[in-house]
């Protein structure tokens, strides 16, 4: 039985829901620790299972292997950090600014929805047939619509929810049509069988184009990214943080499933298209990020460009470990940055880039953490973002896409430009006045500490990448043999 982590998360979700129903309001504060405890136990369970080794459940319908394990670690980390980041808002600990509606209500439901979403993502990577895959994809998507529109009193939040659900549902319809085609072309719902039966025909191309919509929507690949900026802007900030990491990780999981298992045969045939997609994504994301003034939109475009780097890993079958590793790195790094954004928004109600001026004087440590996070996103050594990007670029280089490496590297520079804009505000510009240091709450500090330490450690300690590398062999083998790379 390899399903314990999922069960634990589900149980936690119900426990939190139960507390919401049966406990008096004052005691519901305990929901946060319960949630954290549940996720931590689940994380421990995942790690335990990874040490145990690969296995399956329900007659192969649920597959647990290294990649699945690492994805689940990413999801759970994202969940943990999101819970920490949202705690202050849910508990009403934030500065009230007139004209801003930032309260988050219904703590129990909020956590439950997040946890169910997590479970969806966790099942997604373990699914081995189309039915499972689709249902999990929906489970990993639909709760997000609700989360985005969580702030019912906020018109922007509702508007973001509206946009998100319309585009999300559309993409899900298109991807379903594509999945249907794949089903028809292969005559099976088992992902491995599908992979064996597929060839690179015209209908397959249509199917690929259609599933790319679904993947692109979740991963925010250009031109399926348009929702991101508006939704990040309208959604509550912790939700935006969650969207930027967990939803993206789920998208990557979905893509792993599709491109390695189902389309493994034709992976090399689509690599050029993926390379172009990657190039366009990172370039557009970066270029537009340059002109943003709002940190949320800014992070949306930054996240878009990161997705571009991420899918470079598909260009060569050997890219799986790089992508998994980068996903992990990206989760913690992005959470570092979002942690600071949440902190600053909560405490001051400010969310424009200009508002960060002088942060290094009032809160040097927070500013340092923010700077490290931004540098890691930009790929500056010795932070893990650098190592992760380096490995991804190496994959593209190995596949012969030198031009893409160049584009990506130049894009890193552009991204450095806008990340430095924030650093500049924090360090170079004079402060807004003699502001006293802003006190950070325990939950934010914990979140920042955990994610910062992970961000640094992931890059310096080779253990993580090496383990991922060892554990992703079977995925590479599948794609490698199918892609004709065996010779």
């Amino acid at each position: 039985m390899y399903i314990q982590p999922e069960i634990i998360v589900v149980v936690t979700a119900f426990a939190v829901l139960g507390m919401e129903m049966f406990l008096p309001p004052r005691q519901r504060v305990l929901q946060t620790p319960v949630c954290l405890l549940g996720l931590s136990i689940a994380l421990a369970a995942v790690v335990y299972l990874m040490i145990q080794g690969d296995g399956n459940f329900l007659g192969g319908q649920f597959l647990f292997d290294g990649v699945a394990g690492w994805f689940k670690v990413s999801f759970l980390l994202a969940g943990l950090l999101t819970v920490l980041l949202s705690a202050d808002l849910l508990n009403g600990r934030f500065k009230i600014v007139p004209g801003q509606n930032r309260v988050l209500i219904h703590r129990g439901e909020f956590y439950t929805v997040v946890l169910f979403n997590l479970v969806g993502s966790m099942f997604l990577i373990s699914a081995t047939n189309l039915i499972n895959l689709y249902v999990c994809l929906e489970l990993a998507t639909i709760p997000l619509f609700a989360l985005v529109a969580w702030r019912r009193d906020d018109p922007l939040s509702c508007e973001a929810g509206l946009k998100y659900i319309i585009l999300g549902a559309t993409s899900s319809a298109v991807v379903l049509f594509g999945l249907g085609l794949l089903y028809g072309l292969s005559g099976s719902v088992d992902l491995f069988t599908m992979g064996d039966n597929l060839s690179f025909g015209p209908a397959t191309k249509l199917a690929i184009a259609m599933v790319v919509v679904g993947v692109g929507f979740k991963l925010t690949l250009v031109p399926f990214h348009m929702w991101a900026a508006d939704v990040y802007r309208g959604a509550p900030l912790p939700v935006a943080a969650y969207l930027s990491v967990a939803s993206k990780a789920a998208g990557l999981a979905f893509m792993f499933q599709l491109f390695y298992r189902v389309l493994g045969n034709v992976l090399l045939d689509v690599s050029m298209a993926l390379a172009v997609l990657a190039a366009v994504t990172m370039t557009l994301g970066n270029l537009v990020a340059v002109v943003q003034a709002n940190v949320k939109r800014f992070m949306a475009f930054s996240a878009i460009s990161q997705a571009g780097y991420l899918i470079m890993g598909f260009l060569d079958p050997s890219g799986a470990p790089s992508m998994v590793y980068y996903m992990l790195v990206y989760v913690v790094t992005n959470m570092v940055v979002f942690g600071v954004l949440v902190f600053y928004l909560n405490e001051t109600g400010r969310e424009e880039i200009e508002d960060y001026r002088g942060l290094s004087r009032t809160n040097p440590w927070i500013a340092l953490v923010m700077m490290l996070g931004l540098f890691s996103l930009a790929g500056i050594p010795p932070l893990s973002g650098f190592v992760g990007k380096f490995f991804l670029f190496s994959v593209a280089s190995k596949a012969g896409f030198h031009w893409l490496v160049a584009v990506a590297a130049v894009n890193s520079t552009i991204s450095l430009y806008y990340y430095l804009r924030i650093v500049r505000q924090m360090y170079i510009e004079p402060g807004l006045g003699d502001d006293p240091p802003i006190r950070a709450s325990a939950s934010i500090v914990t979140a920042l500490a955990v994610s910062t330490v992970l961000m640094v450690v992931l890059g310096i300690v080779p253990f993580f990448y090496e383990t991922i590398y060892e554990q992703t062999h079977n995925w590479i083998a599948v794609a490698g043999i199918r892609g004709g790379m065996a010779e």
Binding site: I131, L156, Y183, V189, Q292
Partner: protein
């Protein structure tokens, strides 16, 4: 009389349905109309899967099971969508999706 419809006919039907749905998504101004169009594209996909189940993999019922799940998921999706529409309507007193453009801060670009 009419010849028996082949898979091609059925798939054409499904594709037409899909296209009509897409057209609806992009042209309806009322959010509920958009939702209806989305359901239509979903249904075309469902139809597609059923066709394949019938013509390609007729010896098992995987496709039909998949369709059942899709219907359920689509229902969930519709529920969430309608809930969001309601709260959107409460703020704007309209369900015109073209009016949902308060977030696009064009003038907000930084120097």
């Amino acid at each position: 009389m009419f010849p028996t419809p082949t898979i091609t006919h059925w798939l054409t039907l499904s594709a037409l349905l899909f296209s009509i749905g897409l057209y609806g998504i992009f042209t309806r101004r009322n959010a509920v109309g958009v939702l209806l169009s989305i359901e239509m594209t979903l249904n075309s996909a469902i139809l597609n899967i059923l066709i394949f189940n019938r013509f390609v993999a007729s010896d098992d019922v995987d496709g039909q099971v998949l369709v059942l799940f899709i219907v359920a998921a689509a229902a969930a999706e519709a529920v969430v969508a309608l809930a969001i529409f309601v709260s959107f309507y409460r703020h704007r007193h309209t369900l015109d999706v073209t009016q949902a453009n308060h977030i696009c801060d064009q003038g907000n670009s930084a120097s």
